[in-house]
């Protein structure tokens, strides 16, 4: 994938969904674009890429305590042997599918935060993913943590983009929401139908909130396509879904578009049965996509500011089930990688013998990870976004 310099100039004024609040007056595009052209993203500005692993990735077979007899005993047919894993020290090793991440680890550019979870873990995919994406473990929250970050960044043009057709809740705010950009880019129609489509995005006073949202999404589409669309040229190469998403992100970062946060994802981790092969295949896809992305990002000033966060809604039960798989569990490891990262372990490895009803006990609150990203990558006070939570992981970035 190539992203043109010209694309960057045009692209540097993105306003995504939500910047036009329902009933708000129309944004003056000319003013915005002038301002954006005069003020592109500084090359030393931090950029966050959030990678969600849907389905509940088995943390114990990702960062593997292979030498621990309790691990071997809990899942005899599912366990990796010590000689199979990629040694990290501390009695832990990476899944054999994660060879590229092992290189990043050796290079001190990969941090592994251990035992990440939240109090009173929920075993429902949907509830647990909602908790992770809203950063609200105690009560349901209509907004995602990056959505609230968008809300508090005031009048700046919107700067969060999801490289997926459906917007993940983590990027939905009260006033603002991230834009979506498919890997294939956005090419608007021209001529009479193009003019008509652009007019269809105008707000109409007195219309129902749902209709106003449709109109706004059409207006946001036009902005996104005009500013980001030309920058994306599909490579056409036959590559995995995540690699394609990260390719789009890499191109946008290199072009200097003013996006500060990106969302990408990989699904399929709900391995209740025949887990070992499936998970290793998925982790290999993750590994290849992430390490190619990390290598590419090393090569430019802007790329060297990029930090990637990888998480899943929960880990899995310590003991295997009868189907050579594992059922829904609790805490798991989180990866943070990139040039600004100080590699190594953070947080304690949960005990395999002191369990909570067959599940790992969390040792690190997931909001510590988010607070670190907000403070040290996005430069925002985490307390404003995480309901006062401002504990960070010392030394991971700053």
């Amino acid at each position: 994938m190539k992203i043109s310099r010209r694309g960057f100039i045009v692209a540097s004024g993105v306003v995504g969904a939500g910047a036009l609040a329902v009933g708000a007056t129309q944004v003056n595009w000319t003013d915005l674009m002038t301002a954006a052209a005069q003020d592109p993203l500084r090359p030393d500005t931090g950029v966050l890429v959030v990678c969600t692993l849907y389905g509940g990735n088995d943390g114990l077979n990702t960062v593997v305590p292979a030498a621990d007899p309790a691990y071997q005993k809990a899942r005899p047919d599912l366990a990796y042997q010590p000689h199979e894993v990629l040694d990290l020290g501390d009695g832990l090793g990476l899944n054999p599918g994660l060879a590229g991440l092992k290189k990043l680890w050796d290079d001190k550019r990969l941090a592994i935060v251990r035992g990440v979870g939240y109090p009173k873990p929920d075993h429902s995919h949907f509830r647990s993913m909602a908790i992770w994406q809203t950063a609200s473990p105690d009560s349901p929250q209509p907004t995602g943590w990056l959505g609230r970050w968008l809300d508090v960044t005031g009048d700046d043009p919107l700067r969060a983009v999801s490289i997926e057709p459906v917007l993940p809740p983590l990027m939905a705010g009260q006033r603002a929401a991230g834009a979506t950009l498919p890997v294939t880019g956005l090419k608007l129609p021209t001529g009479a139908i193009g003019t008509s489509f652009s007019l269809m995005g105008q707000p109409e006073s007195g219309e129902s909130p749902d209709q106003a949202r449709v109109a706004r999404s059409i207006a946001d589409l036009h902005t996104t396509a005009t500013k980001l669309g030309p920058a994306v040229k599909p490579s056409g190469a036959n590559q995995g879904q995540l690699a394609a998403q990260l390719d789009v992100v890499a191109g946008l970062v290199e072009a200097g578009v003013p996006t500060r946060a990106y969302s990408v994802s990989l699904g399929g981790f709900d391995t209740h049965a025949d887990e070992k092969g499936t998970q290793q295949r998925l982790l290999t896809e993750l590994d290849q996509a992430l390490s190619a992305f990390a290598d590419r990002m090393r090569r430019t000033d802007r790329g060297r500011q990029v930090v990637t966060l990888v998480y899943s809604e929960f880990g899995r039960r310590v003991g295997a089930n009868a189907s050579d798989g594992t059922d829904h569990g609790t805490a798991g490891p989180v990866f943070v990688l990139g040039d600004p990262v100080h590699g190594g372990f953070y947080g304690e490895q949960p005990s395999l013998t002191d369990l909570d009803n067959g599940d790992l006990k969390e040792s690190t609150d997931f909001r510590d990870v988010y607070a670190t990203m907000l403070r040290d990558v996005l430069g925002e006070d985490p307390g404003k976004i995480l309901a006062g939570h401002d504990t960070v992981l010392t030394g991971l970035l700053a």
Partner: protein, 424 residues
């Protein structure tokens, strides 16, 4: 609160309990008044169209299979899946008896099963036919059929669940997503319920499931406070007898057919009364239609992509299987919804989730594809576009946007207007 007039309420009825009007349908149905229209729609029974013959499932791949053999199998499966989806879309777009089809679609999103893991269009169609046959009857029969449905068992690892070490997937999702709602049971209930569901196996060729006694846990289990040697049937009975269950089922139907805002307590009581001890889905629908909220102009819904596309094809008289299938599928995929492929067991999202920037463009492309394959000679003005799509009045914004267009372009853009993307 001013209610929708009879005509507007009838249009909503056609949208929510069907896939929108076919040409002339709204005028005909509205002429007799809303109450009569409700009776007519509720009386609709499924068309007796036989399932399509997608051919035999390709034989399972052995470890020795070459890359070419794997690829060929994959291709065959994909082809069968496309045929199945086309067949269903044809029904949605063409049937005069839309309610059973709409309920089948609702239950598909409820007992959300994906062909991506089941890997068999035949089994998906088998499940689809069960949903069609039972979807307007009693929830008890539907739930008892689904818990041992071959596709659902494969989807939620029910076949892997056996005595000695249970697999909890089906037990948990059945309570959380199909019958009770989250937090209406304990983690221990999940573990015990999984034991009650042990032993079911699937015969893919025969499209049947059966209980293998040796794999079933015959010990005593306690689920939701009731102890016994529970099996699948007994487990379903316990769950459906919980007061939480009718409320949950009524709430899910309300969410998809009426409003994203949950029903008020008194409304929910009336819905549950309509559902009754028989657990009658028809009774529940009747209660929904009797609610003033069903005629409240404020209870709009963003149409799901398949509902929007099927509705547009109904309105323009286009048969989905006559469209270039690759483009049809790309359009639906770009909007985020392909039949038989829900993203997870939780089903599809709703409301604003469909209104992403990229979905907006996919919607326009699909609208253009459909309109180009339609006879649009009668759509000569914005007013004519409105009457073709069942929209009485366009806003000033939309009228301005449509002013310069004609023919297929006019029809396509009208279908992308907020007034049509949202069910009024």
């Amino acid at each position: 609160m001013p209610l929708l007039d009879d005509r507007a309420a009838t249009r909503r009825l056609l949208d929510r309990l069907g896939f929108g009007p076919r040409p002339g349908e709204l005028d005909a149905l509205a002429a007799g008044g809303f109450a009569a229209a409700c009776q007519q729609v509720l009386a609709q029974a499924p068309d007796a169209t036989p399932l399509p013959d997608v051919g035999a499932e390709p034989p399972a791949i052995t470890k020795k299979a070459s890359a070419a053999e794997r690829k060929q199998r994959q291709k065959t499966l994909r082809g069968q899946q496309v045929t199945a989806a086309q067949w269903w879309l044809d029904r949605m777009a063409g049937t005069a008896s839309a309610l059973p089809e709409r309920l089948t679609w609702f239950w598909h999103g409820h007992f959300a099963t994906s062909v991506q893991k089941v890997r068999s269009a035949r089994l998906m169609l088998h499940q689809n036919q069960a949903l069609r046959g039972l979807g307007g009857g009693d929830f008890t029969a539907l739930a008892k059929t689904m818990i041992v449905d071959p596709a659902l068992l494969l989807w939620l690892d029910g076949q892997q669940n056996k005595v000695g070490a249970a697999n909890e997937n089906l037990a948990r999702e059945f309570m959380e997503l199909f019958t009770l709602g989250v937090d209406r049971y304990s983690e221990n209930d999940v573990r015990e319920a999984a034991r009650a569901l042990t032993g079911w196996t699937v015969n893919r060729d025969a499209m049947t499931s059966s209980l293998a006694p040796k794999r079933h846990d015959n010990g005593s289990k306690t689920v939701l406070g009731i102890t016994g040697n529970l099996d699948a049937d007994g487990f379903v009975d316990i769950v459906l007898n919980r007061p939480d269950s009718p409320r949950f089922v009524a709430g899910r139907l309300w969410f998809r057919l009426v409003s994203a805002t949950p029903p008020a307590a008194d409304v929910l009581d009336r819905l549950v009364a309509g559902y009754g001890p028989q657990r009658s889905i028809g009774g529940l629908l009747r209660a929904v239609l009797a609610e003033p909220a069903f005629r409240d102009p404020a209870t709009t819904l963003v149409k799901q992509p398949v509902e929007w596309a099927a509705g547009l094809m109904r309105a323009l008289g286009v048969q989905p299987s006559k469209l270039p299938v690759t483009q049809l599928e790309a359009g639906l995929r770009g909007m985020g919804q392909v039949p038989f492929e829900p993203p997870s067991v939780g089903g599809w999202p709703a409301a604003q989730s469909w209104l992403t920037t990229s979905a907006g463009l996919a919607r326009l492309h699909l609208a253009q594809l459909i309109a180009e394959h339609a006879d649009v000679s009668h759509i000569t003005s914005t007013a004519a576009a409105g009457s073709a799509l069942g929209v009485d009045t366009w806003s000033q914004r939309t009228a301005t946007a449509l002013a310069g267009l004609r023919g297929a372009q006019l029809a396509a853009m009208a279908a992308c207007a907020p007034e049509y993307v949202v069910s009024q």
